[in-house]
């Protein structure tokens, strides 16, 4: 079974703090993704990576950056957290760049910025 793990289920941070969300997958997948989930908006893609040290912007990259130094690990960074970044963050991975492969999701990190 593919397993995608995220470092925290719940996180509370203050405005202006630097926040790191970590994601690890154990199936040697090439693609990794970060989404945020908000009620009524579904999931929106923040960034994705199709290889180590490679990244591409998704639909809402503003205020976020990412890092992929190892194939199994993909980090989402909020350089200076703001209250409008309070959300559920979901990480996913898929086998390769081809779009027809299933994405496997982690359980999510619920981030609250106060």
């Amino acid at each position: 079974d593919v397993k995608v793990t995220q470092s925290s289920r719940y996180l509370v941070k203050r405005t202006g703090e630097k926040v790191f969300l970590e994601c690890v997958q154990d199936m040697d997948h090439e693609n990794m993704f970060w989404y945020r989930q908000d009620p009524g908006l579904g999931l929106r893609l923040i960034y994705f990576s199709y290889d180590v040290k490679m990244k591409e912007k998704g639909d809402i990259p503003e205020g976020y950056s990412v890092s992929r130094e190892k194939k199994e690990r993909f980090s989402l960074i909020l350089e200076s957290a703001s209250t409008n970044q309070t959300s559920m963050y979901l990480c996913a991975s898929s086998l390769s760049r081809d779009g027809y492969y299933e994405q496997y999701f982690g359980p999510g990190t619920r981030l609250t910025v106060t």
Partner: protein
């Protein structure tokens, strides 16, 4: 740009009744279509996907969906739901040559006894 619209934000349904979740999409190119389910406090998991071929796709847990190109729809159905089907369901698409998944806003299904 492509988009996905899920026409119902919430669907209450009684146990053992049928359910249909509606999904319409917009794209100028060929797409792959997906339905994912999110159970409470969990990540998403794939229910089924349409890549090509037969327009009726069967998935896990008794769900099926029908691709209708002329109506640009991909509605999800189950003939008889269980309490355990209470979850949020997301329709999504990827352009055939791409790898970015675009999701609809989600439909919450609440199965009542």
């Amino acid at each position: 740009a492509q988009s996905v619209t899920q026409l119902d934000s919430q669907v209450p349904v009684f146990e053992e009744a049928p359910v249909e979740l509606r999904c319409n999409y917009s794209s100028s190119v060929s797409v792959y279509l997906f339905w994912y389910v999110q159970y409470p406090n969990q990540g998403l998991q794939l229910l089924l996907k349409y890549l090509s071929g037969s327009t009726l796709v069967k998935g896990i847990n008794g769900f099926e969906a029908e691709f209708n190109k002329s109506q640009t729809s991909f509605h999800l159905r189950k003939p008889s739901v269980h309490i355990s089907d209470t979850a949020e369901y997301f329709c999504g698409l990827i352009k055939a040559a791409g790898n970015k998944l675009t999701f609809g806003g989600g439909t919450r299904v609440l199965v009542k006894p």
